[in-house]
Symmetry: D2
Subunit: 436 residues, 4 copies
């Protein structure tokens, strides 16, 4: 859930809504009718389900309670497209979403039209309740989250097809990554969390104090080349580099490279949304899980940043990088020469050393919408920043993403950190190995 | 595998081939593009996969080895659409067939066209090898088997959708089932199995001698009404009625009625390919597994027939009943008044008391096509007759169908049997309870 | 269940009872208190449980119903030590039997004393119901079955201990196996099954007619040397040799030799009840499952016998071989030179090609004791003969043992068979490869 | 791992060692030989294994590397009794520890004697390396941890036996719990973690600064009565009270009360080490997992304390309460009237809201002993205090215990906390419902 801030629901809300809604459908344009039902595992959902569920969200939380005359498109969809809101009712089993060939693609689009029209009418009414604006703003952010999932879920489902489906051909060029450097921060008693001046989710609040020892952050996320050196040094065969659960995961999964990497025949390739491609080693490495990010940092003699360290460094930085808006659907090589760490936002999410837990004084919103974030505060680790599948407008320094430590189908990478000695003049720290 | 009988590959072979191939596609006409990828569990396959795999069969076993100039549509399909032929090579994992959104529906149809054209050219050549005729005949039978699976798999996948998709509306009338009677057979040393005069699968051979004690068969399969009496008498709560594995299945599955029966709200309904419908109690009960058929027979104080008993009774009877050719996709009420048991063929397969094992002297064919039947002779029970989803031309008295004892997504029912006292004048046996 | 034959309960019944009861305890003498609770998997039971359950059998089926004054040792044991009799009541979960450290070893022995004393008193009464004699006879056979299981279960549980516990040192000598030969049978319409003249289990009845084509049986079970040739020829890597379920088992289990074989360091060893030992290749190979026995026969170009063929050959042969009575607990090399097949009884059970199904006209006994055999007639294959862990007095030609096809912790081996051409003068068949 | 502090290894180290070693064996005195092998699930270990593994620890980390003349008792034990130290080598599979009937109880005791004697000799040498003292001190703490596990594992394994084994009869009296009150703390920038002046584990270091908002802690852990009110209010049926993973656990486990509670027949009972007993409702509730503790706090409108809050409150408090030293093996009713929160130590561990993660600047020790704590810093929650199965001498304010959130076989309870409004005069907070 989110912090309701009626004031921030500025005039272009309806336009933002319709643009966002249209973008979801544009993302499906390269897909065939057959692709729209793909679901490779319980964690991912079919594209069609994303189109339906985001519509369900608006119908359930805005139209049904706040638009008296509204007639639901199909009463049975309340159950079919409820993701996890126990406060609304029972849910169609998540692992079976691919079995919902009906309603079909066209029917879901008709449902979207009906809901969009009703929302437009509601928002156009001059006297409408400001709470509706706040809920629409939330629904927009919710749909942006599902746009990211639509892309990452699709990549995952496609990856099971040995024909290596192409969602969009690659059109960018290779270039070298900038040199690895450290950015240093003196820390101290700092404030972290959202201050409530703009839209945020409830899990970013309340703003609170936290003590930070002096630390440094890497100037950019680790590259494929840097991570490949870890692989070549036996990283996936050495238990001492891994958390115990991580080592169990390595043994059970048989993993020996990031997800989608294909190392078995000739030159290293990976599956991307542009199909099977030679790995571009200067890019940020993506599709790591927490265990891999943590093991890589340990191999470097370094560590992951905490979320408070990350946020302290990112606060005030512009939200720049590769986003879904660029329609590349793949992380780009970091830009050169900046005073702040590059790619804090966009390209790849960055695993932190922080468990996803409530901030001191956290209270979820009341009602079913309160199930949005709070009930998941267990067993997950925080990621910060954003990825090439995130909307630029969706991100901010206080944003908390979270996934279970074994999952890696998101565009998730690693930015290294280290603790500085408070008593000594700080200096350049060790640089991780870079392969030629 | 089959017995090759080049003589029986009569002139209309090409016509039969093209009619059969076209029928597979006609079966998909009521389906949406989205439906074509549905796979609810590893045992069932998507409709599109059936269209592709049957094409693979012709391309792999006929065109590639016997048509020198033939260019495969896509070399990668050899792996993608191989079902279980280790002699051909590795297979795409069966539980993941729903993930093959590519090749899409139109591409699979184009493949079918290419293969059909090549087969037509091959068969039209005046000097073609008679072995090709035999293989085409086998391919036709193979495709008929997959037509039945396409229908039963589709019903199963649809049944997970609470919108209860309609494949085709119901248009038949209710009528009472004929009275239950016994048909008696004196048995003795009889011959069973195919005699090789017409097409048969290898598992029906060799014809061999078997001793039968005097026995009787029910005049028709058990009806929904008769099976409902078993349910109402606590059939699913009484371990003494079940085989040990069957009782384990009841407890683990929570089953308390045939598959697709919906007993929880008001009048009893079931899911059919015409959607959710009130149960018609005079029809043959379908979607039983072996454990249920066996428990029902035990509750009646009777037993299932052996496959030899069944075949001895069916030999020489006309292949009549409800088949896929009628396009009802649902068992029909038995016809009244005949001298032989009704519905031996069509409507519902009949579980027998016989394990699926090789006949004495059985030898599978050489090569990969020898994997068709023989390697499955373990852990399955034989069903005889045919169902409303079988092709009439595909069935015969010696036909052996087989499934694992816990599976029930086929149109599988039960015909009762009893042993007659050889020393006494036989008389009408006990009639199972019929509810009003 | 069994056929009750009060006449055969001859005078020495009490002596037989007490000898059998004492032998169960003697089998535990080499064991420590700690060993008595071992249970390596759900299929096996701890030695202490076997001592308790066999006592439960007498208390439940004889003393409670037939000895009015009898006071159960502990009412709670009815639940604790019920194996699978739903007619008696619920059962303590089988996989947890190792968790019953109480009642301890001494308490179980006290229970045995109480039950033995009560049985002795009951049998000593001159007017006792002959039904009691029949039930005691059944209880003796039941206890003999559990003595065999005690030994095979113990071997299995011990095998998980890398210290390779020694139950009893080996004291026999090596010698060569006799040459492989065929014994031929003309078959015809024969009778099979127990004739009821002596004790038998219900599953051996009724005696009935069956047709047999001419066939031959191997002169002895296959040896370790013969089976090793299969291994060396890639037997466990070639899918064409295996049933489909068998090949799945090979891949999932990673099996590449019989159970207990240790091929990884130097000379081939196996775990035996004498500890880790060099394999003696002239012995009958043991600890095969049905899939392995079947694959071996296919590799030989031969087949397994049916149970009717086996019984026809064994009928009238003396029950000779290596039994538990010899206290070797390991199969012995076949004796040389006989007119009939050697080792039909004892040493290793012989997998047949027959599924475990009811004989025509089979009817289990009434009451809970009717659960003894009949309810397991699904998904298992018949073994014939007996093993080095069977009691000699327990075996006969009509005896039907049965296990699921993937299980191999019994002393189970393979005797080859072949069908003879009825039209030709029969001759020596092909001899399977023997390694030097 | 631990912080090595040679100075604190004061003269009585050898006496402490021998007392601790003897106490492990005393804990086994009420057990039968049969009990010594019990292992109900992979998380628990048999008593005999605990006796062996603690001995392995001394032999592996002290005697082998530091006592040149030492001959291992049995080289094969290095593998058998390695718990999880990959740096030492492979490990016998944890779920199978109950299968190690050999070495038996007496042999393990002989091993203990040999190791104790060798340690005594080593420590008695006037010139021995002070590192040895530090390692012996660590081994003592390690053995104390296993004494606690021995008791909790035993309780768990015994609980599967419906005879409800008695380890030791109950001899204490009932009395009312003191009234619930709040203890308030103003927080601020405080230091937390061990300061290294005495023995501690590595995971308690380094001492570091943390900011705390004003908060209050409950005057005692929640009682059975208080938790029972949660149950009676439908606590286990209301998803809104649970974390999402917690609710999944409720549904999958079917839990509706703390572990060992028996609510199905008549008056509420629980299984204790004194057998099946009526619940004493004034005691601290035990055997909750994190999900239950968290749901209970949410139902109260309160929360769990963080580990820093807990430690800040406990720092400087005496280590008093019910410990394993009292040999009650069950939590006692809280004492009345104190100025600080009662039962911070002993009786029940207290779940905190903190994930088990490294403190800022944490570095595990080098070598295999560095696997002691650090590699488990994932997916677990911190518990603070100690329980009725902990050694008093083992506990301190900075001690961090940790378990996965679904586990509840430890004596784990819940102490409530709340955040105070920094701007208002603090006052007594809401008191959770107490049943009469």
């Amino acid at each position: 859930m989110h912090q309701l801030d009626p004031q921030s629901a500025a005039p272009p809300l309806l336009a933002r809504l319709l643009t966002t809604r249209a973008f979801s459908e544009q993302l499906c344009e390269p897909l065939t009718a057959e692709d729209m039902g793909l679901q490779a595992c319980p964690e991912v959902s079919p594209p069609r389900w994303h189109l339906a569920h985001t519509t369900w969200f608006f119908e359930t939380f805005i139209l049904k309670p706040h638009q008296r005359a509204y007639r639901p498109f199909d009463e049975r969809f309340e159950y079919l497209f409820n993701s996890y809101y126990n406060g609304i009712g029972a849910q169609y089993p998540r692992p079976q979403r691919h079995l919902l060939s009906r309603p079909g693609n066209q029917e879901v689009l008709r449902w979207r039209r009906q809901v969009d029209d009703a929302l437009a009418e509601l928002l156009s009414h001059p006297d409408h309740d400001p709470l509706i604006d706040a809920l629409v703003a939330l629904g927009i952010e919710h749909e942006q989250q599902h746009q990211e999932l639509l892309i990452t879920d699709l990549k995952h489902s496609f990856s099971y097809n040995p024909l290596w489906p192409v969602y969009q051909p690659r059109d960018d060029d290779e270039r070298p990554a900038p040199e690895f450097r450290w950015h240093e921060y003196s820390g101290g008693l700092v404030e972290t969390g959202a201050d409530g001046a703009a839209f945020c989710f409830d899990n970013e609040t309340p703003r609170h104090r936290v003590w930070l020892d002096p630390y440094a952050l890497a100037s950019r996320p680790a590259t494929c080349a840097e991570f490949f050196a870890f692989i070549e040094d036996g990283g996936y065969q050495r238990p001492e580099l891994w958390l115990s659960d991580g080592w169990d995961w390595v043994r059970q999964s048989g993993a020996r490279a990031p997800l989608y990497w294909l190392l078995d025949d000739g030159a290293p390739h990976y599956y991307t949304l542009a199909g099977r491609q030679p790995i571009r080693f200067q890019e940020p490495v993506a599709h790591l899980n927490y265990f891999e990010a943590d093991a890589y940092a340990r191999w470097c003699g370094l560590r992951l940043p905490t979320e408070a360290e990350w946020e302290h460094a990112a606060a005030g930085q512009p939200v720049q990088g590769g986003f879904i808006d660029n329609r590349r659907y793949h992380p780009q090589v970091a830009p050169a020469g900046r005073d702040a760490p590059a790619q804090l936002f966009g390209d790849v999410w960055e695993w932190t050393a922080s468990a996803y837990l409530p901030y001191p004084g956290f209270a979820p919103a009341g009602g079913a919408v309160g199930e949005y974030n709070g009930k998941f505060m267990n067993g997950q680790m925080v990621l910060r920043g954003g990825s090439c599948a995130s909307s630029q407008a969706h991100l901010r320094a206080s944003y908390r993403n979270f996934f279970q430590p074994h999952l890696r189908w998101q565009f998730s990478g690693v930015r290294l950190a280290r603790t500085l000695d408070p008593n000594r003049e700080s200096s350049r720290g060790p640089t991780p190995t870079i392969i030629a």
